[in-house]
């Protein structure tokens, strides 16, 4: 269940699920627990907006597809592995680590 489907679009206030209505009083607690679980470890960040924005900032699965390749970061280790497995080496060289910021 995504937060976008649970939360009313555009809600920016501090964590508050009163909008769920009185008949959902017990559900509120359940939802509160759910939301807190969905904070992806950011347990202290308890506003709905925080949860959503954390997901906006971190890489999506599509953005991380290149990490499905098992990149070595040590050329000498890669050389040893290539010799051992009888494979050529593919080196991706950039100013600023390719697996880093740029």
């Amino acid at each position: 269940m995504s937060l976008e489907r649970v939360l009313p679009s555009g809600k920016q206030s501090e964590f508050d699920i009163s909008w769920l209505g009185g008949c959902l009083r017990d559900y509120k607690l359940e939802m509160q627990n759910l939301f807190q679980t969905m904070l992806i470890g950011l347990a202290v960040l308890t506003s709905q907006a925080d949860v959503v924005v954390v997901n906006e900032i971190t890489p999506s699965k599509a953005e991380s597809a290149w990490l499905e390749i098992d990149w070595e970061t040590d050329l000498w280790e890669a050389r040893k592995e290539a010799a051992r497995t009888d494979k050529p080496i593919y080196l991706w060289e950039m100013d600023g680590h390719p697996l880093g910021c740029v």
């Binding site: 950011l42 390749i69 070595e72 050329l75 000498w76 050529p88 593919y90 080196l91 100013d95 910021c101």
Partner: protein, 309 residues
């Protein structure tokens, strides 16, 4: 980063790289300068490529364990990259075994001037940065066609002693986080690295700064960092949680939200005016090689470890 998406998300490129190659990625700033066996081996490969005699050695190289170059390309198009990979594999298949195989010795001491590794007992925090914009009443990543829409990745390194000090601070009821950790975050990690390599902040550019943790590990802070001429800066607030268990970080989660502005030399193309940017800091177990690459800001290591200097 566009390179990653365009080329490495290509199914055929990805399959070939995973199955037919040993893949390695390196920061050219270090590697082209290394005066050790690794640097010598890299130079041998480069000297067979169009990068011979050129200052930068950036690009994509395919070669044997003996150092024979089979292909080079610095084009971002997936078709050209794929063609280069296939051509190199064809060359590889023609090679006699003796040219492909070699006994690789240990390389001896690393050139410490251009080699960085996490200190023993240290820990790694991943730092994700993304330009944001307000749409439909909330902060969202930029639309796909805008420069800087991808999430940039860096790593914050903490020394074992610093982690223990953080734990002691929390146990004793909290207070300001030490300058070493706090200013390291400010100068080297609160940066817009979404369009290339930003420059580090200078100490006197950290104009307003507060970062504290309470007795439960809750972190709060705010900051204003900017160039003297006001042309580039970042202002915002920090919230999060740090937990230390038996001298080791069990949690290091920060959310930074603010507004940034301006370009640095290698990060052209900023949006006009002050615009939203967000960062997430999250503890890494360091198991993947990609988690262990050095922080961008550690090229001058003494400054990274002692950021007040």
């Amino acid at each position: 980063m566009a390179d990653r998406l365009l080329v490495f998300a290509n199914a055929e490129v990805k399959k070939l790289l995973k199955e037919e190659f040993v893949t390695v990625a390196a920061d050219d700033w270090y590697q082209r300068r290394r005066k050790d066996k690794v640097g010598e081996f890299f130079a041998k490969v480069v000297d067979q490529s169009p990068r011979k005699g050129v200052h930068t050695k950036q690009g994509h190289y395919i070669f044997t364990a003996t150092g024979k170059l089979l292909g080079f390309n610095n084009n971002r198009g997936p078709e050209k990259r794929l063609a280069m990979i296939k051509d190199a594999l064809s060359e590889w298949d023609k090679l006699p075994k003796g040219v492909r195989k070699v006994d690789v010795p240990e390389h001896g001491k690393n050139d410490q001037g251009f080699y960085r590794e996490l200190p023993k007992g240290g820990q790694i925090v991943k730092v994700y940065t993304r330009c944001l914009e307000e749409r439909s009443g909330r902060l969202q990543k930029l639309a796909d066609n805008k420069i800087g829409n991808l999430s940039a990745v860096d790593h914050l390194w903490l020394q074992h002693l610093e982690v223990r000090q953080l734990g002691n601070l929390i146990v004793s009821g909290g207070g300001p986080i030490s300058n070493a950790v706090s200013l390291r975050i400010a100068k080297f990690h609160l940066r817009d690295n979404t369009r290339g390599e930003p420059r580090d902040w200078k100490t006197n550019e950290v104009k307003e700064w507060s970062l504290k943790v309470d007795g439960q590990g809750k972190v709060s802070g705010n900051f204003l960092i900017g160039s003297a001429d006001g042309q580039m800066g970042y202002q915002g607030k920090i919230e999060g949680m740090i937990l230390v268990d038996k001298g080791r970080l069990a949690k290091f989660d920060l959310l930074v939200l603010g507004k940034h502005w301006g370009n640095s030399r290698y990060t052209q193309g900023a949006r006009p005016g002050k615009a939203p940017m967000g960062q997430v800091f999250r503890l890494s177990d360091g198991k993947r090689a990609s988690d262990r690459i050095p922080p961008q800001g550690i090229r001058w290591a003494p400054g990274y470890w002692n950021p007040a200097t």
